[in-house]
C-alpha cells in the first residue's frame, strides 16, 4: 500500500529521476558483468596459449582489445571511413527506437508485445516488396512496412480480445510463423521475384529501385563533411525521433491515449467508465505492430543489408532488443531514443572487438543482463525513491515549523 501512496505525492519529477537512476544502475551492472565475461574469455585464450599471465597484463588486454571497443565503438572513425561508427550506430538505432517504442507503447496499455520481432520481419517483407517489386517511392515503402507490422500486431490483439489467448503466447507463435512465411515468400524455391539467385539474397534496392532508398544527409564538422562520401547516414533516425515524440503526445496529451492507458491500469474500471476494452486491446497491438514494422522499413530501405531467406533461421535481434530499449526507458517514448542509442552503441562496439578472442555476441550478453536487471529495477527504483522521500521529509519539516510559528504570531 505504501508504495502506491508515495508515488503520486512525490510528483512526476522525482519519479522519473528515480526511473533514470534505476536504468543507469542496470546499465552499470550490465557493463561490469560484460567486463567480467571479457576477462574470462581473455583468460581462457591466454591460458590456451600456455603463457603465464599476470593479472595486470590480462586487465590491460581485456581493456584494450575488448572493453574499450565496446565503449567507444559507436565513435569509431578512420581516415577513409569517416564517421563510420556514428553512421552504423544511428543506422541501427533507428529500428531499435521503433521496436522499443512498439514494446513501450504496448506496456503502457498493459500488454507485453514480445512479438516485435515477428512484426519487424513482416514489416521488412512489405517494405522490400514495395521497393523491389512495386518500385514505389521511399515514403510509400515506409507506409507499406508499417502496414505489414500492423497486420501482424493486430492478430495477437484479436486473439487476446476475443479468444482470451494470452498475447505473449500468440506473439511468440506468430514470430515464428512470420519468419517462416517471409522466408518462403521471398525464396519461393528460388523463383521469388525479389530473390537474386546469384547472391542468394534479395536484390539490392540500389539496383532495383533507387527512388525507394531513404534520402541521406551529411553534417559539417569544421567546414568539412563529417561522413565520408561512400558512407552516408539516412534520415531514418529523424523519422524514428519524430515517431517517438508523436507517441509521447498520443499517450500523454490525447483522450485516445488516456483511454488506452486506463485499460492498461485497470481493465474493469475502464470498462465501467464506458471504455471499449476489446477495441482498445486490438488497436494498441495494431499500433505497436505498425511501429515495429516501420522500424524494419527504416532499416531495410537504407540499403545497407538485404534479406537472406536461406540463412535467416533466427528471429531478427532488433525485435528482442526492443524489449531492452523499452525497459531501460521505463516505457517512456522519449527515453526510448536514448536507450536505443545505448543498445546500438554497445552492439556496434561489440563488432569492433578483437574477434579472435572476444565474440561480438558479448554485447548481447550485456543487453541480456540489462533486461534481467530491469525486470526487478522497481526494487532499485523504490530504494531510490525512498532516499528522495527521506530528503523531502527533512526539507519539508523545517518550513512547516516556520509556518506554524507564523500562524501562532498571527
Amino acid at each position: 500500500m505504501s508504495k502506491k501512496n508515495t508515488a503520486p505525492r512525490l510528483g512526476n519529477a522525482s519519479n522519473s529521476i528515480g526511473s533514470l537512476l534505476a536504468s543507469l544502475t542496470c546499465i552499470l551492472v550490465g557493463l561490469v558483468i560484460g567486463f567480467i565475461a571479457l576477462l574470462v574469455l581473455g583468460w581462457i585464450t591466454m591460458a590456451q596459449d600456455g603463457n603465464a599471465v599476470s593479472l595486470g597484463q590480462m586487465l590491460q588486454k581485456t581493456w584494450n582489445s575488448g572493453f574499450k571497443a565496446i565503449l567507444s565503438g559507436g565513435f569509431y572513425s578512420t581516415a577513409n571511413a569517416m564517421g563510420m561508427g556514428v553512421r552504423t550506430e544511428i543506422l541501427q538505432a533507428a529500428p531499435l527506437i521503433m521496436t522499443g517504442l512498439s514494446v513501450a507503447f504496448a506496456f503502457k496499455t498493459g500488454l507485453f508485445n514480445i512479438g516485435a520481432a515477428g512484426q519487424y520481419t513482416v514489416g521488412a517483407y512489405f517494405a522490400l516488396y514495395a521497393a523491389i517489386v512495386l518500385k514505389l517511392p521511399w515514403w510509400a515503402c515506409l507506409i507499406a512496412s508499417a502496414l505489414g507490422g500492423a497486420i501482424w500486431g493486430a492478430i495477437p490483439g484479436v486473439f487476446k480480445a476475443f479468444l482470451n489467448v494470452n498475447e505473449v503466447i500468440t506473439s511468440i507463435m506468430f514470430n515464428w510463423i512470420g519468419l517462416y512465411a517471409v522466408n518462403t515468400l521471398i525464396y519461393q524455391g528460388g523463383t521469388g521475384a525479389m530473390y537474386n539467385t546469384n547472391t542468394t539474397k534479395t536484390y539490392t534496392i540500389k539496383q532495383a529501385s533507387p527512388e525507394s532508398l531513404l534520402p541521406t544527409f551529411n553534417i559539417q564538422v569544421g567546414g568539412k563533411d563529417y561522413f565520408g562520401a561512400i558512407f552516408l547516414p539516412t534520415i531514418g533516425i529523424f523519422v524514428a525521433i519524430v515517431a517517438a515524440v508523436l507517441i509521447w503526445v498520443v499517450l500523454n496529451k490525447t483522450t485516445f491515449g488516456y483511454e488506452l492507458k486506463a485499460c492498461g491500469h485497470n481493465k474493469n474500471a475502464a470498462k465501467y467508465a464506458g471504455i471499449n476494452d476489446k477495441k482498445n486491446i486490438v488497436l494498441s497491438m495494431t499500433i505497436a505492430g505498425a511501429l515495429a514494422g516501420l522500424g524494419a522499413g527504416l532499416f531495410y530501405l537504407s540499403g545497407s543489408k538485404e534479406w537472406e531467406p536461406l540463412v535467416s533461421t533466427a528471429l531478427p535481434a532488433a525485435g528482442f532488443n526492443g524489449i531492452s530499449v523499452a525497459l531501460l526507458a521505463s516505457s517512456n517514448p522519449i527515453g526510448c531514443i536514448f536507450s536505443a542509442l545505448f543498445i546500438a552503441h554497445i552492439t556496434v562496439g561489440g563488432g569492433f572487438m578483437d574477434a579472435s578472442i572476444f565474440p561480438s555476441e558479448v554485447s548481447d550478453i550485456i543487453s541480456g543482463v540489462v533486461i534481467y536487471l530491469c525486470a526487478f529495477s522497481l526494487l532499485f527504483k523504490s530504494g531510490i525513491l525512498k532516499m528522495f522521500q527521506r530528503q523531502g521529509k527533512a526539507r519539508k519539516a523545517a518550513p512547516s515549523a516556520e509556518e506554524n510559528g507564523k500562524e501562532r504570531e498571527a
Binding site: 482470451n164 511468440i172 512465411a181 528482442f320
Partner: protein, 315 residues
C-alpha cells in the same frame, strides 16, 4: 512410416519433458517463459559434456547417463536465476524469463565460438568427429524402429510427475502455492521454498529437454538459432495439456506429429507430391498450436496465482 514414428516419438519426448518442467513451475505459481533459454543452456552443456567424455574415453552407457544428468543440472543452475528474480525479488516473471531467453542464446553463441576458437558457433558431436561417444550412442533399435534414451527418460518423468503431483505431500503443497499461496502460507507451507522447488524442477527437465532435442536428431548444432522455438511450443503443449501430466503427454504427441513432418515430408510420397517448401512444415506446429489455443483458451484453467509474486507482507 517407421521414420514418422521415430521422429514423432523423438519430438514428443522433448515436448513432454519440457512441458512437464513448465507444469511444475506454473503449478507452484511461477510463469516459466524461460524454458526456451533453459533448453539452450541444457543443450549446450550436453554437447560440451559429450565432447569432454568422448575425449576422456568413458564407457558409452556411463557417458549417456552423465550427459543427461549434467545437462539437467545445467538447466537447474540456469533456472535458479529465474527463481531468484521472480520469487525473492518479486520481479515481473515474463520479463525476467524473456531476459533469460536472450541471455541464453548470447551465452551459448559466445561459449560455442570460444570452444571452436573460430567465428563459427557450430559444435559437432557426430560419428566422424567423436569415435567413442557420439549422437548415435543415444539411440537404439527395436526391430525397424529407432528409439532413443530420452524417450525412456520422458516416460519415467511422466510417471514420476503424475505420482509426485497427485500422490505426495510435496505435490499437493506445490499445487496449493500456485492456487492460493496465502492459504498455503497460513497452514505453514513455505511458499518461497515451494516456488523455488517448482522452478528448479522445471530447470532440470528443461535442460534434459534441450539435449534431447539437439543430440539424437542431428550430429552438429548451430547455436545461433537457439532451439528454434521448441521451448515456446512446449509452453503451448503445457497449456493444451491443461497443466496435467497425462494431458501434457497427449498434447506432446499431437504436436510432435506436426514437428516430425518437417523432418521427413520428402520421404512420404503423397506429401512430397504436394511439393510444398520445407518452411510450410516448419510453420505447422506453430499454426496448429494457435488453432488449438484459440478453441481451448476460453475454458482454460491456469493455476490461479501464477504470475503473481507472493509477498508475505501483503497477506
Amino acid at each position: 512410416m517407421w521414420l514418422l514414428l521415430k521422429y514423432t516419438l523423438l519430438y514428443a519426448s522433448v515436448l513432454a519433458l519440457v512441458a512437464l518442467g513448465g507444469m511444475f513451475s506454473e503449478r507452484s505459481g511461477v510463469i516459466n517463459i524461460a524454458l526456451e533459454g533453459i533448453m539452450v543452456i541444457g543443450g549446450l552443456m550436453g554437447v560440451v559434456i559429450i565432447n569432454i567424455l568422448n575425449a576422456a574415453g568413458v564407457p558409452v552407457f556411463l557417458g549417456v547417463l552423465l550427459t543427461i544428468l549434467i545437462s539437467g543440472l545445467a538447466g537447474t543452475v540456469y533456472s535458479s536465476l529465474l527463481a531468484f528474480s521472480s520469487v525473492n525479488l518479486k520481479a515481473d516473471q515474463t520479463i525476467g524469463g524473456t531476459a533469460l531467453n536472450l541471455l541464453a542464446t548470447a551465452l551459448a553463441v559466445v561459449i560455442a565460438k570460444r570452444i571452436n576458437g573460430t567465428d563459427s558457433p557450430k559444435i559437432s558431436y557426430n560419428a566422424n568427429t567423436n569415435k567413442v561417444l557420439n549422437n548415435l550412442n543415444f539411440s537404439f533399435q527395436i526391430g525397424p524402429l529407432t528409439l532413443n534414451w530420452f524417450i525412456v527418460v520422458a516416460v519415467i518423468a511422466l510417471v514420476a510427475a503424475w505420482f509426485i503431483l497427485y500422490r505426495t505431500r510435496f505435490g499437493m503443497r506445490l499445487m496449493a502455492c500456485g492456487e492460493h499461496p496465502q492459504a498455503a502460507d497460513s497452514v505453514g507451507i513455505n511458499v518461497y521454498k515451494m516456488r523455488w522447488c517448482g522452478v528448479l524442477i522445471s530447470g532440470f527437465l528443461g535442460g534434459i529437454g534441450g539435449v534431447a532435442y539437439i543430440v539424437p536428431a542431428v550430429g552438429d548444432w548451430n547455436f545461433e538459432m537457439g532451439v528454434a522455438g521448441m521451448g515456446f511450443l512446449a509452453l503451448a503443449v503445457m497449456i493444451f495439456g491443461q497443466w496435467k501430466p497425462l494431458g501434457i503427454a497427449a498434447a506432446a504427441l499431437f504436436f510432435a506429429v506436426f514437428r516430425a513432418m518437417a523432418n521427413i515430408f520428402d520421404s512420404i510420397a503423397f506429401l512430397n507430391a504436394l511439393n510444398w517448401p520445407k518452411e510450410i512444415y516448419n510453420m505447422m506446429p506453430f499454426i496448429a498450436s494457435m488453432v488449438v489455443l484459440a478453441f481451448t483458451s476460453k475454458k482454460s484453467r491456469a493455476p490461479k496465482a501464477e504470475g503473481v509474486p507472493y509477498d508475505k507482507g501483503s497477506r
